[in-house]
Amino acid sequence: MFDLQENLLSWVIFLPIAGIGILLALEAAGRIFMSRRLSDRSWRVAGMGFALGNFGLSLMVWQRFDPIDGGLQLVERSAWIPDLGIQYYVGVDGISLFLVVMTGFLLPVTLLASWTDIASRVKQYVFFMLCLQTGMMGAFLSMNLFLFYLFWELMLIPMYFIIGIWGGPRRLYATLKFFIYTMAGSLLMLVGLLVIYYLNAQQFGFLNFDYIGYGGASGIIDTLIPTAGAPWWQTQFWLFLVFGLAFAVKVPMFPFHTWLPDAHVEAPTPGSAILAGVLLKFGTYGFIRFAMPLFPEAAVELSGLVFGLGVAGIIYGALVAMIQQDIKKLVAYSSVSHLGFVMIGLFAMNLQGLEGALLQMVNHGISTGALFILIGMIYERRHVREISEFGGLAKVMPVFATFFLIATFSSIGLPMLNGFVGEFLILLGTFAAAPWVAVLATTGVILSAVYMLWMYRRVFFGPLTNEANRGLLDLSAREKIVAVALTLPMFWIGIYPASFLRPMDAAVSELMRTMEQRGADIASHNGGQSALASLPAETPGRVSWLREPDASAEAAE
């Protein structure tokens, strides 16, 4: 049961919360037997240890991952509430692999970055951060929809406290808004989930929450969800809207994004970094994992809407970011813009678009996470974030300015850095599916260069006007470690994306096959045409220089 080889994914999920258990037990034992408390520092160090262990385990998942296999790997499944078809069922595939690795990576980095920043109620801070990690890992790895829903909602609670306790002046409003928006969206999904669950039970004769059937058995993904000829609430169209709403709030897609700037501005640095880095990914992950394969007909039917909202988000987010006075708010709005890219990439529904979107999810996690952490470093020194407060920082903090520049370029999508690969693939895929959308989205690339570089110039270049900035210290050794750790993957993905794209190939092809198959099933059920038939069967224009030839040959078939 505790075998590291057999139960690797469970270790990944539960190590953080087990760490909490150990720390709480030590704390209690210390109070009772020695009447002393553990120091804040020991909680911090132990929390860091568990976070690093978690990262190590997630790397082990990557190392053991077989890139040729498009299905679930490292699967664990055991009965939980068998009467209702609820299993403890976890598995990883090419879609979730790098999200898991990125989640594992971001926790130790943010903990290290907030080492001195979060000085009050340290124990509670470590507690909530580790709980959050378990929730996020669990949601990425769950293959039983009930289990997924559990983790999906559970991770909101620690984030609620992280923003609410250590946040800025308007933190109470922001955290409540964050919680209610995301939870209200997903509550309707629960009803949709139950509808599919009973449709599945009707068709297969037993209650089952497993998403992908285990060992050849049927799963929720095999449910035939009608497009017509059933009560409206059983059709793909409405169910997609319900699922889509839950995910769109989380992405957040325009116009459901209003909670995001509030939450980001008020959240403490680690909260912002995790929120932008991981939590937002659950929206896009939900689309690619659940909403699109479950309701392919509706996804195609509504792709125009998604494209429209995606492009609106890209341009609106960029324009609003441009006029922000607060650096953090600027980055928050840039997230709206960048996630618009991910959304159009997903709904291009071809290999490049999907892989680009997946890669861009990871990229955005690292780049935006890095930006928030770097902003946190300057905020810790000056306790202001207004752009006008700064200017000429490059003179007093050259190292900081360098790392900030790299993160800025990564966010813009400069070649050789991670953002470029993702955006390029997305635009390539989108162009094949909907040229005009790609054209409009490209303006977002330009706009992002405008607002990011303009901000960078105002903060770092020019004369050192504000006296308060004159004595600022450059990065400490600890901060340098954080900055280097964040910069390395940016270069890695930018220079050699093949190591990330290869493991995705098989899974994404598998996903597209599933969607086509389900489209064909529903077409034969309706005795008519499937909207998916209009998708190109072969995906043209593979970008050979982005990947090694043997991998693309394997993935092609």
Partner: protein, 508 residues
């Protein structure tokens, strides 16, 4: 005339509680006169603890008996005239009632001492009320139902006014008494009309002889339902709840919000399943509207409350709405969902009231939500328990509250798919939207506890050992039921509507 065929074993748990209720005043007197046989008299605090432990002991014995009975075949007290039925559902509801009252009794010792109302009759009243509740959920006859209802209500009226020197406690008792007797009157009138129309008081006989076109019978049924609706506080019969819960001593409010409601729901379930089967179609729209109103009004009104107890009162109204949804579905799945929900609800609501009760300090209760400010700094244990209860009441996964809602909504959707009924699906949609509304006020409590600085004032007392134990049990149960509800499912499968049918064939 032959001797009646009585099965005393069937009602053994009720007997235990009845004997306990009778002996408790005696124990009180004995504890007051310890001077005569002990070298020094016990202090009032000690006497209170002994009383509270004795009550807990009595309730534990009954609880163990009910656990034994839960797996057995259904039994009736008088085999010739089955007025008391001990089947799976009765046993389950008895278990819930006994757990709730047991936890209350255990926490009462220090609570009563803190408020300087440490008097022994409290425990006698408590046991009498528990006896009434157990009778209420076991009755299959309208007369027995009425007896159970009154036996439950009258001690609770007295307990609500137990702080004799407090104006609000008196107001609470009087209000509860007036509304309660009014409801009893309506219920009794309905019973009389039903008896007049059918010539029987047995629920099963009423069901068998139900003439859907008889206006007298329909009016009688309506009045019976209204009487019960008052007791469980559904909209529009809920207005008494906030005032009464606010004024009563906090633990008594907890008892009213949990076990009393459980018992009344048990009676409602019986009446629906046994007697009102023929008018399901007539009741459906009325109950649909009532459930939606109860959920929505409860949740919306709770948002604007500043007093924790009033907030919990409206929250309990809202939860009544979710429970009504389960009753409305009426399938086996729906009923077992209601039963599970009642158990989950008892733990989380008792935990919440328990925290407010522990904060009672030197005769003053800290009741405003603002009084909880900074509790996470001074009393992290209380804050943690309260947070767990609030999260569970809000229905966030990983807690009993979520599993309860999940069971209810799954029953709704199952029935909606089976019958292709959109109105049922809307009920599920309105239910989850209500859950979203409820987040606003449930989350405010942890927000105040964790994210606000405490107001200057005396530090809250440390919780006593037993209080702490009760709170820990509630919090642990909320989480365990949320993560491993499966063992409980085994009990629930024994709650079989079919058992009632077998009793029906046995009755003359």
């Amino acid at each position: 005339m032959t001797a009646p065929d009585l099965d005393l074993g069937a009602v053994a748990p009720l007997c235990v509680v009845a004997v306990g209720a009778a002996l408790m005043p005696l124990l009180d007197v004995l504890l007051g006169r310890t001077k005569t046989f002990l070298s020094r008299p016990v202090t009032a605090a000690w006497a209170g603890t002994v009383m509270s432990l004795a009550t807990t002991g009595v309730l534990s014995i009954a609880l163990v008996m009910c656990f034994d009975a839960a797996g057995a075949a259904p039994r009736t007290f008088n085999r010739d005239h089955p007025m008391i039925l001990m089947d799976g559902m009765t046993s389950f509801l008895n278990i819930v009632i006994l757990i709730g009252s047991l936890l209350t009794a255990l926490a009462s010792g220090k609570f009563l001492a803190d408020l300087a109302i440490n008097r022994g009759e409290y425990y006698a009243l408590l046991l009498a009320a528990v006896l009434g509740m157990m009778l209420l959920v076991a009755s299959t006859n309208l007369m027995m139902l009425f007896v159970g209802l009154e036996l439950m209500s009258i001690p609770i009226y007295a307990m609500a006014g137990f702080r004799r020197d407090s104006l609000r406690s008196n107001e609470s008792a009087l209000k509860y008494f007036l509304v309660g007797s009014f409801a009893s009157g309506i219920l009794l009138y309905g019973t009389a009309l039903i008896y007049g129309a059918t010539g029987t008081l047995s629920l099963l006989e009423i069901g068998a002889r139900f003439d859907v076109d008889d206006p007298v019978l329909l009016i009688g049924s309506g009045l019976l339902l209204v009487g019960l609706a008052f007791k469980i506080a559904t909209v529009p019969f809920h207005q008494w709840a906030p005032d009464v819960y606010e004024g009563a001593p906090t633990l008594v409010s907890g008892l009213m919000a949990t076990t009393v409601k459980v018992a009344a729901f048990g009676a409602l379930l019986r009446v629906f399943q046994m007697a009102f089967g023929p008018i399901d179609d007539l009741l459906y729209p009325a109950l649909w509207v009532m459930a939606v109103l109860t959920m929505t009004v409860g949740n919306v009104m709770a948002i604007i409350q500043q007093n924790t107890k009033r907030m919990l009162a409206y929250s309990s109204v809202a939860h009544t709405g979710y429970l009504l949804v389960g009753i409305l579905v009426g399938t086996q799945v729906g009923i077992s969902a209601v039963l599970f929900y009642l158990l989950a609800y008892t733990f989380m609501t008792l935990g919440a009231f328990g925290v407010v009760a522990v904060l009672a300090h030197a005769g003053r209760e800290r009741e405003r939500i603002a009084d909880l400010a900074g509790l996470a700094n001074s009393r992290i244990f209380l804050a943690a328990v309260m947070t767990i209860c609030m999260v569970s009441l809000a229905g966030i996964p990983g807690t009993a509250g979520f599993m309860g809602k999940f069971y209810i909504f799954r029953a709704v959707v199952e029935q909606a798919i089976a019958t292709e009924s959109s109105s049922l699906l809307w009920l599920a949609v309105i239910g989850v939207l209500n859950s979203a509304i409820s987040l606003v006020y449930y989350l405010r409590v942890p927000m105040v506890m964790f994210m606000r600085e405490p107001e200057p004032g005396p530090e809250p007392d440390r919780s006593g050992t037993f209080e702490g134990l009760v709170l820990a049990v509630c919090a642990a149960a909320v989480i365990l039921l949320g993560i491993w509800p499966e063992d409980l499912n085994l009990i629930l499968t024994r709650v079989d509507v079919l058992h009632w049918a077998s009793v029906a064939s046995a009755s003359p």
